[in-house]
């Protein structure tokens, strides 16, 4: 990944200036459950149930979540390998949601996929040359210097030897096969690459090779990635922005630094605290860990209100009844929660914990609870008296100073155009005057956004 993208300042500002490549609104994918002789539909697995996000040119969007949260289905729907049930997908401004196969075909070369299982995704009866040249054949593309030469160049690009052209997949190890899959995905110089668990089937040492390869290729070819993975350390390493999914919904979408340093959704926090750190000295710090009770509920009948309320230690009555919207609480950090961590409570009037929350809280260390109450209170106090915010130059007040201007905006399909243009400006560098609502530093960004939506 390029040096510029790595620095923290750029992570928060740069993506805004980039063009939106893929825009997803209210995307749904329900798999019907049919029963009986008549195969009547008796229900549906709501694998993806209304998600909104956008991917900008040249960035990497990481998607994390537990198994069954719908992240892989999301990947297959945005590449149109599966038909969406609802919502819309725009690629480069073009609505591709309902395009027929013939209409999709020219776009196929721009959207490619890397699959999880390097054993299942390569036809064992085709040679590597045949596999990697298939995209040229299918799209009727005649690369400069002939297909074979181009395929050999691609094999070299991903770190394989051009002599492997006539070999078969079984002659390769898992890591090498994954490289073949990558070479095939890159054959037609795609604009967007969706990678579904690209490294999870590989050994640690090989995993690092493939992660580095994907990084280098992004630099060289200006690729845009959507990387779906369950390993939070890997996702953090590769992504610029990260979406956390839970039961078919995005619960938090933020740039990497904000997400890992100040996660706002309790689920994000729990998920990250569960990642084992390869440092035995940290074992004493186990009290930071948040254990979640039980398992992810069934996506056939997801819980009412906030879907996480059955396992959340902060759940109150409002969580049970009202579904929280994915709103931008801090520039570049969208969260769907009534009682976010590291931020002012969105439903402060509702303080009575549900009984499940009390049980869940018993698994959360007291230190964590105290700390989160403290930060929330601090943020709330700052919000109550915004005049003080501009004075102090600490990190917290800087974030808070933005609060008044970032109106709570719904990112659902209904309510966005105007608001989005407001805070795409606000997502830029923090300004000391909290009353200034007009973006001054990035004139193009808002107009870009409004034309898109």
């Amino acid at each position: 990944m390029s040096e510029t993208k790595k620095t923290d300042a750029d992570v928060s500002t740069a993506p805004d200036e980039r063009e939106v490549l893929l825009k997803v609104e209210g995307l749904q994918k329900h798999f019907p459950i049919r029963k009986g002789v008549l195969q009547r539909q008796v229900g549906a697995v709501k694998a993806v149930d209304g998600i909104d996000f956008e991917v900008r040119k040249g960035e990497t969007l990481g998607v994390v979540g537990e198994s069954g949260c719908g992240k892989s289905t999301m990947g297959r729907v945005i590449t149109r390998l599966q038909e969406p049930t609802g919502g819309s997908i725009h690629f480069e401004g073009q609505d591709i949601t309902r395009l027929k196969p013939a209409g999709m075909r020219p776009l196929r070369r721009d959207i490619q996929m890397i699959f999880q299982d390097p054993y299942g995704s390569l036809n064992p009866r085709h040679t590597i040359g045949g596999i990697v040249s298939a995209p040229f054949r299918l799209q009727g593309v005649e690369p400069e210097g002939g297909v074979k030469k181009e395929v050999q160049r691609l094999l070299e690009l991903v770190g394989l030897s051009p002599e492997h052209y006539n070999r078969y997949p079984h002659e390769f190890s898992g890591g090498q096969r994954q490289r073949i899959g990558i070479a095939r995905a890159l054959a037609l110089k795609p604009k967007l690459v969706v990678a579904d668990e690209p490294v999870s089937a590989l050994d640690v040492s090989i995993q690092a090779q493939v992660v580095n390869l994907m990084d280098d290729l992004q630099d060289e070819l200006g690729l845009t990635y959507v990387i779906i993975a369950h390993d939070l350390s890997v996702v953090r390493h590769v992504s610029d922005r990260i979406a956390v999914m839970y039961l078919g919904k995005i619960v938090e979408l933020a740039d990497r630094t904000s997400l890992y340093e100040a996660p706002m959704h309790p689920y994000t926090k729990a998920l990250m605290s569960a990642v084992p750190v390869p440092d035995p000295k940290r074992r004493g710090a186990k009290s930071e860990r948040i254990l979640l009770r039980g398992d992810v509920p069934s996506p056939i009948s997801p819980p009412s209100g906030c879907r996480f309320h059955t396992r959340c230690w902060k759940a109150t009555e409002v969580c049970k009844t009202t579904e929280p919207q994915l709103i931008e609480l801090r520039p570049g950090q969208r969260v769907a929660c009534h009682h976010p961590e590291n931020f002012a409570d969105q439903a402060p009037q509702d303080t009575v914990l549900l009984s499940v929350a009390k049980e869940a809280a018993s698994l959360v260390a007291d230190e964590v609870l105290a700390e989160s109450a403290e930060t929330s209170a601090a943020v709330a106090a700052e919000v109550a008296s915004p005049e003080t915010a501009g004075v102090a130059d600490t990190e917290v007040s800087e974030e808070v100073s933005e609060k008044p201007e970032v109106k709570i905006t719904k990112t659902g399909p209904g309510a966005k155009t105007e608001d989005q243009s407001t805070h795409s400006g606000a997502r830029g560098t923090a300004r000391p005057t909290p009353t200034d609502p007009q973006p001054t530093d990035e004139p193009e960004a808002p107009s870009q956004e409004s034309t898109d939506s």
């Binding site: 690092a208 580095n212 750190v277 390869p278 940290r282």
Partner: protein
């Protein structure tokens, strides 16, 4: 781990044939499988010890022989038709009994009673046709002369202990009705129903989500405290190792390349392969500005293990020792500190220099 004599040769066999002090002691274990393509040397001279109440983590890539080691301890290689196809040598001492030379029936009596195993994939390790309760009851009644009712009570008690809600109802459920995490809990209940003194867990959390993994690791740790068992945990995830291990054994190409306490291996690793593993891991607790440092190349084939040090084709430091010693002489385990062993031709000075100057700053 107890202090052993300094040279590697003597390390495996301080007093061959005699029962060791440690609860589980493996000495110079070799497990070879003859195949059409050649002899697969899955485990080729492995020695280690585990005390009761301690956890040893065996780390390595796929094909490094870690699972074969665990199956060898359980005596599972010698079952059925597969038994004819394995060449085992060395010693495995469990509580004063030697298992490699023991009668299969004797090992069978120990299996499940003294030593139990948790497998990676509980869905394939459990029988889909029988209820969870049935399978736990069976495991209990094989070793205890009790009636079904008592055994069932014991099964419910165990399910409750591993944190399965409503155990009296779930006991009659089938494996497919359990979620991944619950199934793994049920398998732990099954493994622990006889209070075994040795628990072997082969990648117990690899198939699980991080949140569930945290639950299961906590459970294993609690149960170990409660029952005082020795635990051998096999994993490829160094995060899990740092979380739960007392001692760590790093395997490469069927042999141990480094062994020591968890602090030794993470703070003062002595083998280039261990450095490679640490460098390959993206870490959630560190800045992400650095590139990962992968180990180049591929894991070796166990039929054609590279000559000399098995790691030399992938080792960036293979040319530092004089001559072609790394290519011709197989390094033996050398003591590099109290209870810390490493099999590497690099001189201790070189290793310390490379670790402190080149590797550690980049991690």
């Amino acid at each position: 781990m107890t202090e052993l004599s300094k040279t590697g040769a003597a390390l495996g066999e301080p007093a061959p044939g005699n029962a060791p002090d440690a609860f589980l002691a493996v000495r110079d274990l070799k497990v070879h499988f003859p195949t059409d393509d050649g002899l697969v040397k899955s485990v080729d001279g492995l020695s280690f010890e585990v005390e009761k109440g301690k956890t040893l983590c065996i780390v390595g890539e796929s094909g490094s022989g870690k699972s074969v080691t665990s199956l060898a301890i359980m005596g599972l290689h010698r079952l059925g038709a597969r038994g004819k196809n394995v060449q085992m040598s060395g010693e495995i001492w469990l509580g004063g009994k030697e298992l490699v030379s023991a009668d299969p029936d004797e090992v069978r009596r120990l299996r499940g009673r003294e030593m139990a195993m948790i497998f990676q994939d509980p869905l394939s390790a459990m029988h889909p046709y029988y209820t969870i309760g049935n399978q736990i009851v069976e495991a209990y009644r094989v070793h205890h002369d009790v009636n079904k009712k008592t055994a069932r009570k014991r099964a419910i008690e165990m399910l409750d202990r591993v944190g399965i809600p409503e155990p009296d109802k779930r006991v009659d459920g089938y494996p497919h009705e359990f979620s991944g995490g619950m199934r793994q809990r049920a398998m732990i209940a099954m493994a622990l129903v006889n209070n075994p003194e040795l628990l072997i867990a082969d990648e117990p959390t690899t198939a699980l989500d991080v949140t569930v993994q945290a639950q299961i690791l906590d459970l294993i740790r609690d149960l170990q405290k409660e029952f005082g068992s020795a635990v051998v945990l096999i994993t490829h995830d160094l995060g899990v190792v740092a979380e739960i291990a007392d001692d760590v054994l790093v395997m490469y190409g069927g042999r141990c390349v480094e062994r020591g306490s968890v602090d030794d291996v993470f703070e003062r690793p002595q083998h280039p392969y261990t450095w490679g593993l640490l460098g390959s891991m993206p870490r959630i607790d560190r800045e992400t500005s650095e590139r990962l440092i992968p180990v180049k190349g591929q894991p070796p084939s166990l039929i054609n293990v590279p000559s000399g040090c098995a790691f030399h084709p992938r080792c960036p430091y293979a040319d530092i020792p004089k001559g072609d010693v790394t290519r011709t002489v197989r390094p033996e385990l050398q003591q590099v500190g109290g209870g810390h062993f490493s099999a590497c031709h690099l001189s201790p000075e070189d290793r310390t220099r490379i670790w402190t100057e080149e590797i550690a700053p980049k991690l």
